[in-house]
Amino acid sequence: MLHKQPLAFYSEPLAGVDQEELLGKLIVIEGPDSVGRSTQVARLRAWLEHEGHAVLDTGLARGALAGKGISQAKDGNLLGPVTMTLFYATDFADRLENEIVPALRAGFVVLTDRYIFSLMARAIARGEDRAWIERVASFALVPHAIYYLRAEVRDLITRVVLGRGSFDHWESGMDMRFGSDMHDSFVRYQARVIRALDRMSKRYNFVVIDAAKSPDQIFKDLQRSIAKLFKAT
C-alpha cells in the first residue's frame, strides 16, 4: 500500500482532488528535532528558484487554520498526547488541501519541512497506536521523494547545546515525563522518535541521509538526488 506512484493518496482520497491535475513535485525533508532540516530547506529553495522552479515551502504547524491554536495550546503545556496528535493532523490537512494541493496544481515544487512521518513518529513515541495514526494520516499524498536526515541522539544533544543552548519542553517530551529532567527526557523521547522513523524508512521508501555529514555535503547529496527527479519526467 505504501510504495505507490508519487501524488497518489496513501489510501484515503481527498474529495475534489484529481491526481491528473497535479503537475508539480512534492519533496519532503524529514528528521528529528534540531537535525538541520530548515537550513537545507532554505538552501534547496534558493537553488531550485535559481534553476527556474517556483517553490512553496511549508512545515508543521504553519497553517492558517490551526497553526496559531497549536502554538497557544503548547504555551499552556496542557496538551494531552492524543489531542496534540490530532491538532497537528488538523493543521496538516489544512495545509495539504489549501496550500500544497493548489501549489501542485499550479506546477510548483513543494518543499516541505516534515510531513506526516514526524507527526506519526511523535504519536508513536508517546505510546499511541501505530495503525491508528497511520490510518488517520492516510489522506496524505505520496511524495516524489522523502529525504530522512538521520542522526543519533547524542548528535542532537550537541546541536541543542551549541545552538539554542537549552532544552525545549516539547522536544524533550516533557509532557510525558520520559525522564526526571529535560535532558533525560530528551534522550529517551528522541530515541523513541528516531526508532519510529527508522521503522518507517523501508515501508515508506525514505532516502536516508547521514546527518553527521557536513551541511555542504548533505546539500550536494540532496541536489544530486532532486536533479534526478526532474530528469525522470
Binding site: 484515503e12 491554536g69 491508528w132
Partner: protein, 229 residues
C-alpha cells in the same frame, strides 16, 4: 450519552436525567460536543472564515473530543463519576460522513474513545425536528445547515437535506452502536420515564454500589463502575 439530530430534544432529556441522578447524591459530570477551550479559537476562526474542508472539520472535532476525553472525561471516570455526554463520537460518524469523509476513516479516527455504558438515540421525523428548530431560533448557522456542501442556496432547504442525510446515518448505525432508541415525538415526561427505566435496568447495580458517592474503594473498583451515559 445522547445522540440525535438537531431539534430531537436530546439535550433537554439529558439535563433532566442528570438532575435526577444528582438528586440521588450521585456525582454527575457533563460534557458537551465541541466545547474544549483549547480548540475553541481554532474552530471559531475556521467557521468565521469558512475555512473548513470535510477532513479538517472532522479532525478539529476529533481534537476537541480528545482534549475533553484526556483532560476531563477520563480522570472523572477514574474518580468514579457518572459522565453525561451531549453527543459523542457517533455525531462525527453521522455528520462527517454526510460531509464526505469515509465511514471507515472516521470510525478509525475515534478509536481512542472509551465505549459508553449507555447510548441513547432520540429518533424524530425530520419535519418535527425542523419545526422545533425554526420555532425556537431565529437563524440557522452556516455549518449547521451544511451550507458548505452546496446542497441548496436556501439555508432552510439546505438544512432540511443535510439533517435528513444525518438522520439516515444515525438510523443505519443503531445496531453497530447498540443505541437505545427513544421515540422523541412522545411527551417530555414519557421520554424521561423511559430513559430512567433504562438507566436503572442497565446500570442499577453500578449506581447503587460503585459510583462516586461511596468512593473510598480503590481506583480499580471505581473504574470498573464508572459510566458514560
Amino acid at each position: 450519552m445522547v445522540e440525535g439530530i438537531d431539534g430531537s430534544g436530546k439535550s433537554t432529556q439529558l439535563s433532566l436525567l442528570s438532575q435526577w441522578l444528582r438528586s440521588q447524591r450521585i456525582a454527575v459530570a457533563f460534557s458537551e460536543w465541541n466545547s474544549s477551550p483549547l480548540v475553541r479559537e481554532t474552530t471559531r476562526r475556521g467557521k468565521k472564515k469558512n475555512m473548513f474542508t470535510p477532513v479538517t472539520f472532522s479532525l478539529i472535532h476529533a481534537t476537541d473530543f480528545a482534549d475533553r476525553l484526556e483532560r476531563y472525561i477520563t480522570p472523572l471516570l477514574k474518580a468514579g463519576a457518572v459522565v453525561c455526554a451531549d453527543r459523542y463520537a457517533y455525531t462525527a460518524f453521522a455528520r462527517d460522513v454526510v460531509r464526505g469523509v469515509s465511514r471507515k476513516w472516521v470510525r478509525n479516527l475515534y478509536k481512542f474513545a472509551v465505549r459508553p455504558n449507555l447510548a441513547f438515540y432520540f429518533r424524530v421525523p425530520l419535519e418535527v425536528a425542523i419545526g422545533r428548530i425554526l420555532g425556537g431560533r431565529n437563524a440557522i448557522k452556516y455549518y449547521e445547515a451544511g451550507m458548505d456542501l452546496e446542497l441548496s442556496r436556501n439555508v432552510e432547504e439546505s438544512f432540511r437535506i443535510f439533517q435528513g442525510r444525518i438522520l439516515d446515518e444515525y438510523e443505519a448505525m443503531i445496531q453497530e452502536v447498540g443505541f437505545h432508541v427513544i421515540d422523541a415525538t412522545g411527551s417530555i415526561e414519557e421520554q424521561q420515564q423511559q430513559m430512567r427505566r433504562i438507566v436503572m435496568e442497565e446500570l442499577g447495580a453500578n449506581l447503587r454500589n460503585g459510583v462516586l458517592r461511596a468512593s473510598q474503594g480503590d481506583i480499580d473498583a471505581a473504574q470498573a463502575a464508572a459510566s458514560v451515559l
